[in-house]
Amino acid sequence: MKILGKNRGTNVPLSETVIELFIRLCGISSILFVFGIFFFVFREGADFLFGGLDLGQFLTSPEWYPTSLGNKRYGTLALILGTFSVTALAMLLAVPFGLGAAIFVSEFCSPKLRETFKIIIELLAAIPSVVWGFIGLTLMNQLIIKLFNAPIGLTMLNGSIMLALMSVPIIVSIAEDALKAVPDSYREAAEALGATRWQLIYRVLLPAAKNGLLAAVLLGAARSIGETMAVLMATGHSVNIPEGPLSWIRTLTATIAAELGEVARGGEHYQVLFIIGILLFTITFAVNLIADLVIKGIRKA
């Protein structure tokens, strides 16, 4: 019985064996779930993926006309660029802000203020994404129209700000943990060498915590890539190659969410939406893989 682990003689109490079995099942099931989900998504899209879909067009054409009567076209380039541009802009806003806040909370706050801050940040994390979408749709929409004199405020910028607000709490809490995990002995050593607070931060704390900080950034990005509701509501949801922060765009996730309810089950369009799901899977997998490789590279250096 491999699943019960090595033979450990006869004096292992039954309760321990049961607990061990349970924990192993939990571990194995989490792997099974991932494979199960992937299998399901893949199965729904497989027929069309291998029979009929022009993969080149799917990835490189900006023309997304899944419901055209005469000439259906399934090009996702605009959606891919939409997802990446809104995420990139969101990270541009969220990373400096999130890391800065994490440094402030862990290095400059009094213990009392730190607790208050953490509560506020947790509250921020608890806001459902549909509420962010609503804020984007109303408040931020008006603000962008006024500030930039834009015809419509539902833009990439709007979506990015919403995504940034959603990823900041993740970035702050993970980055703060990473900074807190730096041994105090490093601080003491650097301070005894005459380092100022800033020198301590950028010469010692940031290098020492870089793996955790990188994880914080990547998890923030993963949150942004996967987010659906807020970008659906805030970005204008219009298939469009983005040209700048004020372009209206559409993302891969929002496309699935908006269209899946409208399509005939099993049809071409339905299957394409699942293929987009596979694409999203691949993107997140690639992000995680890159993160792993980067972190391993850092460890070796």
């Binding site: 002995s185 050593a189 301070e191 005894a192 005459g194």
Partner: protein
């Protein structure tokens, strides 16, 4: 050994309400090694932290009395970072900063301002040689300081403490996590350094004070019980019975 390098007078330190030093007065002479011995919790580390003013980084501490460095009260010095660089500090556990060996040693000079590469190269080589580590690491100065063995890291810490040509070198129980061979090597290093600087050697090994120190101070529960020539402290009749007991290991 006439000139007074450090003058401590009526030094009282509290952490919150808890006293750590209760009115301590003594002098340290230039170019001597002053051994500081005493059981745990007697205030030895606190004393070192007052001298380089890192104690004020701990919340809720109060300091009364004065510590003078070359006649100047350290608490009136405005450039506290400059003050800290005048005092090399070696902590109990070896702390290689998560930087390359080179950057570890170049850390303090860089905090003081931009340096030329060649100047830093010289500093790094000089300090690693002084700390008897150069031969072991000269071919891998770019690798992480944290990857060195404990004994090597402690010598790296010493090299780092020397990087700013400190006037005073404080060592806080440096041998606590170091093997005996490395301890002996570091002791040899200290013997050669005494001509260049004043050394405060806090040690958990009384024999180490006996081997190295010109004078030795015995601390107990936040008080300075006795300070005298090392020969006297380790003789059969130091001024204080508890000194004799502690030094001879029948304490408690």
């Amino acid at each position: 050994m006439e000139k007074k390098k450090i003058e401590v007078s009526e030094l009282r330190v509290r952490y919150g309400n808890k006293p750590a030093l209760n009115g301590v007065s003594f002098d340290v002479y230039e170019n001597e090694i002053l051994g500081i011995i005493g059981p745990a919790q007697s205030g030895k580390t606190t004393l070192l932290k007052v001298i380089n003013r890192t104690l004020e980084l701990t919340r809720g501490t109060t300091v009364e009395g004065t510590v003078k460095l070359d006649g100047e009260d350290v608490h009136t010095i405005t450039d506290v970072y400059g003050l800290r660089r005048r005092i090399g500090m070696v902590l109990p556990l070896p702390v290689g900063l998560p930087l390359s060996i080179y950057d570890n040693v170049a850390f303090a000079p860089r905090t003081a301002g931009p340096r030329k590469k060649s100047e830093l190269d010289n500093i790094v080589e000089r300090c690693l040689k002084q700390a008897a580590l150069w031969d072991e690491v000269k071919d891998r100065l770019d690798s992480l300081g944290t990857k060195l063995s404990g004994g090597q890291q402690q010598r790296l810490t010493i090299a780092r403490a020397l990087s700013h040509q400190p006037e005073i070198l404080c060592l806080d129980e440096f041998s606590i996590a170091v093997d005996p061979v490395t301890t002996m090597r570091i002791e040899e290093v200290l013997k050669t350094l005494r001509t260049e600087m004043t050394i405060l050697l806090v040690t958990n090994l009384v024999q180490q004070a006996k081997r190295l120190a010109n004078r030795t101070a015995f601390f107990l529960n936040g008080a300075l019980v006795e300070i005298d020539a090392t020969d006297v402290i380790f003789s059969d009749n130091p001024a204080n019975q508890s000194t004799y007991d502690y030094v001879n290991g029948n304490f408690g």
